[in-house]
């Protein structure tokens, strides 16, 4: 490419690059500086250097680490469930040779087009004690199996049950779409050869599909984990008073309680964890491309 053409390309992409840099970097820098108390963008920030926010965050007697752990735990469980559902459905359709026609495709992909907030409210209505699922759960849990005197709360519960259920429903199509697409690209002769040699389905999945789907699966896991880890609407609507999801914790600290230093510090930790996951995700994608 001639230097002139290169310069032209640079000039063409420069506005977008600058725009993105400003839009991404400025809030990040402000959040970073504010977490050290170096700005006065919000009321209550000291305007001078302090590590108080970080001291408070990493103090085990304070609630921040508990919120981080809860967020991590619930996100991990949801990721495992949603990815397993997506993988299971994709493999089931693959082995049963079910074609993904328009109707089925629509049904599976509905969650992709649902706003998180709306879905959270839908699940709230379904899961609260007089919602359909709530009633069914009570019948099974209390009346049929007599496991307890009363059914545990499914919404606003301390275990994050509602968040896990709603998050799994929202995210399983992502895993399904990725894995289903990869399965279509697999060489069928490998599976046929295994069958000819007497391998059962379970073994075929373990020895052929999972190794070949590895990077796709990893990217689905990381994508789901990241999306849920940073989610706000679902834990805000369905979460309990405590433990709180980290995003809700930031919101409550900053907006409801006016503790902006804690809000910004938690945000920075949050961003760092999310960026680390994003780094692994992009690395996994790069490796997948390399192996392809």
């Amino acid at each position: 490419m001639s230097p002139r053409r290169q310069l032209g390309n640079l000039l063409l992409i420069a506005p977008l690059t600058i725009f993105l840099l400003v839009m991404v970097m400025v809030p990040l820098v402000i959040a970073m500086l504010s977490s050290f108390g170096l700005t006065t963008v919000a009321p209550g920030l000291p305007g001078h250097f302090t590590l108080q926010g970080y001291r408070d965050f990493f103090d085990p007697s304070k609630p921040s680490l508990q919120a981080l752990w809860f967020t991590f735990k619930v996100t991990l469980i949801t990721t495992v469930i949603s990815t397993s559902l997506g993988l299971g459905l994709a493999l089931f359709m693959h082995f049963r040779k079910i074609r993904l026609n328009a109707a089925l495709s629509f049904l599976v992909k509905v969650p992709l087009f649902m706003p998180y907030l709306v879905t959270a409210f839908v699940f709230w209505v379904l899961l609260y004690p007089r919602g359909y699922i709530g009633i069914i759960f009570e019948i099974i849990f209390v009346e049929f199996f007599r496991l307890a005197e009363e059914a545990p709360a499914l919404v606003a519960d301390p275990y994050g049950i509602a968040i896990i259920v709603c998050g799994s429903w929202m995210r399983f199509p992502y895993a399904f779409v990725i894995i289903h697409g990869l399965l279509q690209m697999l060489d069928p002769s490998l599976e046929e050869a295994a069958r000819t040699l007497g391998a059962r389905t379970g073994r075929i999945v373990r020895r052929i599909h999972l190794p070949l789907l590895g990077y796709g699966l990893l990217s689905a896991v990381l994508l789901n984990f990241l999306a849920l880890f940073i989610a706000f609407s679902i834990p805000f609507v369905l979460g309990a008073s405590w433990p709180q999801f980290l995003s809700v914790f930031v919101y409550v600290n900053a907006k409801d309680q006016g503790n902006w230093l804690a809000g910004y510090t938690t945000s920075v930790v949050y961003i760092c964890v999310a960026l680390a996951i994003a780094y692994f995700y992009t690395r996994a994608l790069a490796k997948a491309r390399k192996h392809a």
């Binding site: 609630p63 609260y128 009363e150 606003a156 519960d157 309990a240 008073s241 405590w242």
Partner: protein, 458 residues
């Protein structure tokens, strides 16, 4: 002609018009008798209200702690001081107004209607923004910080905390607007009604109350009688022990009915209202004296509905109540009203009352930001929404009490007897009765502590 000669001729003209003393028609009445008769007649007419009526009313407080309109005409104001007529003229000249408020759909409906009616009545183009109190407060504070002289909000609806933030952030137009508004006199002269304080934040007259939400004890009257319910605000624990799993209150950070009720518990359990009322926030008091409150709430938790879980908002509690999951909870009159009006709550089960000595509830209202570009229009708007006609809409649309009690008096019996209004004689109960206010700073402190002390398992 000089002034001196002009004066002399005027006196001469006046002298010529007076009849001579010896020409007076005496007709058998002496001077002393005339003075006595005239004096008696004058006093009688005054007592009957024919003479000096305006002045007497203007000077007198009415027994309901309101005042008559000021009869002093415009000439009472020097040129440098704006009369209300002048404010109205300037408002018309400004010609537009930006109003910002927040709340549920019913509040949106209320303010939408009221703004439209104001625009129609005044000809002032009124733009209503329904949003988030925090965003609106931040907008004003940021504009003030950026020294933006012409802001974007003319009248902003606030609860105690953002009002405090705006006051302390220099965002409030520090003019005693409540005393300027002619309709401000219709609000009873009680300190807690926004005159001195809003959630114990000093107002200096810069705040115009608009709606009186009332936190109440809500119970299922099909299952319980009124006398079965706790008569005192602190009686919940005993009741909950006897009726395990039947009571709940909302997460204090997610709904006002929860934190308003807990604020009342603070008053009752940790030293009384007088200990906090009209006094500044002292963190040491909260740290040192609040253990009885935390003990009470911790013990209560064991007997609550699904112990350890708290409904996430006023509506969530109302929904549990409507579904029959709980039979007793504190909640706002307006929230329960929306359930009845919307058909999601059976009015036959709704019992509602205010326990002794009360659940001191807020009177949210408006202030004018310091950089409001249309301050005269904002004043005229605030006067309009404090009129009896506009205030009458508050119970009908929102389901809460108006701050102008006359607007409650004029409601139909049907409206007054709705099950979501806990008190029928508002004047005797509120304006002339025992009144209190939440302490915004202590309440806020309690909200930050509640998660650690109650919701978070140690």
């Amino acid at each position: 002609m000089t002034d001196k000669t002009k004066g002399k001729s005027a006196i001469a003209r006046k002298t010529r018009t007076l009849p001579e003393a010896d020409e007076l028609p005496v007709a058998g009445i002496a001077r002393r008798g005339f003075i006595q008769t005239a004096g008696t007649a004058g006093l009688s007419l005054t007592m009957l209200g024919f003479i000096g009526r305006e002045e007497a009313h203007a000077a007198a407080f009415k027994p309901d702690l309101t005042m008559e309109p000021n009869p002093h005409p415009t000439f009472g104001y020097p040129n440098w001081f704006p009369s209300w007529d002048e404010i109205e003229r300037r408002a018309k000249a400004e010609g537009k107004l930006n109003v910002s408020a927040w709340g549920g759909p019913e509040t949106k409906d209320h303010f939408g209607k009221i703004c439209a009616a104001f625009e129609k009545a005044s000809g002032i183009k009124t733009t209503y923004t329904h949003g988030d109190w925090f965003a609106a407060q931040q907008q004003v504070l940021n504009e003030v910080k950026d020294k933006k002289e012409q802001g974007s909000i003319d009248a902003i609806f606030l609860w105690g905390k953002p009002f405090s933030n705006l006051m302390q952030g220099g965002g409030v137009w520090e003019v005693p607007i409540l005393d300027i508004l002619p309709n401000g006199r219709k609000i009873a002269y009680r300190p807690e009604m926004g005159r001195f304080v809003h959630d114990m934040v000093p107002t200096y007259g810069t705040f115009v109350p608009h709606v009186n939400w009332q936190d109440c004890y809500v119970y299922n009257k099909k299952k319980f009688k009124r006398e079965d319910m706790p008569q005192k605000v602190t009686g919940v624990l005993e009741w909950a022990k006897e009726n395990k799993g039947e009571f709940s209150y909302c997460d204090v950070n997610k709904g006002g009915s929860g934190h308003t009720w807990v604020m009342m518990l603070i008053y009752e359990l940790t030293g009384g209202y007088e200990k906090y009322a009209f006094r500044p926030f002292v963190k040491e008091i909260a740290d040192k004296d609040w253990q009885p409150l935390w003990d009470y709430l911790k013990e209560l938790e064991q007997y609550c509905y699904k112990p350890g879980t708290y409904p996430q908002g006023n509506n969530a509690v109302a929904q549990l109540f409507a579904a029959g999951e709980i039979t007793f909870c504190p909640n706002w009159d307006a929230v329960m009203a929306q359930g009845v009006i919307g058909g999601t709550l059976d009015p036959e089960i709704l019992g509602l009352f205010v326990p002794e000595p009360g659940i001191y509830s807020p009177m949210d209202g408006f202030t004018i930001p310091v950089n409001a570009p249309n301050k005269a229009a904002a004043l005229v708007f605030l006067n309009y929404i404090t009129s009896v006609e506009a205030q009458m809409q508050v119970p009908q649309v929102i389901g809460a009490y108006p701050v102008v009690t006359e607007a409650w008096d004029k409601q139909t019996d049907k409206e007054k007897n709705q099950p979501y209004h806990p008190v029928k004689d508002l004047r005797a109960w509120r304006d002339l009765g025992k009144m209190g206010a939440r302490h915004g700073e202590y309440m806020f402190h309690m909200m930050t502590q509640w998660v650690d002390k109650i919701a978070r398992k140690n």
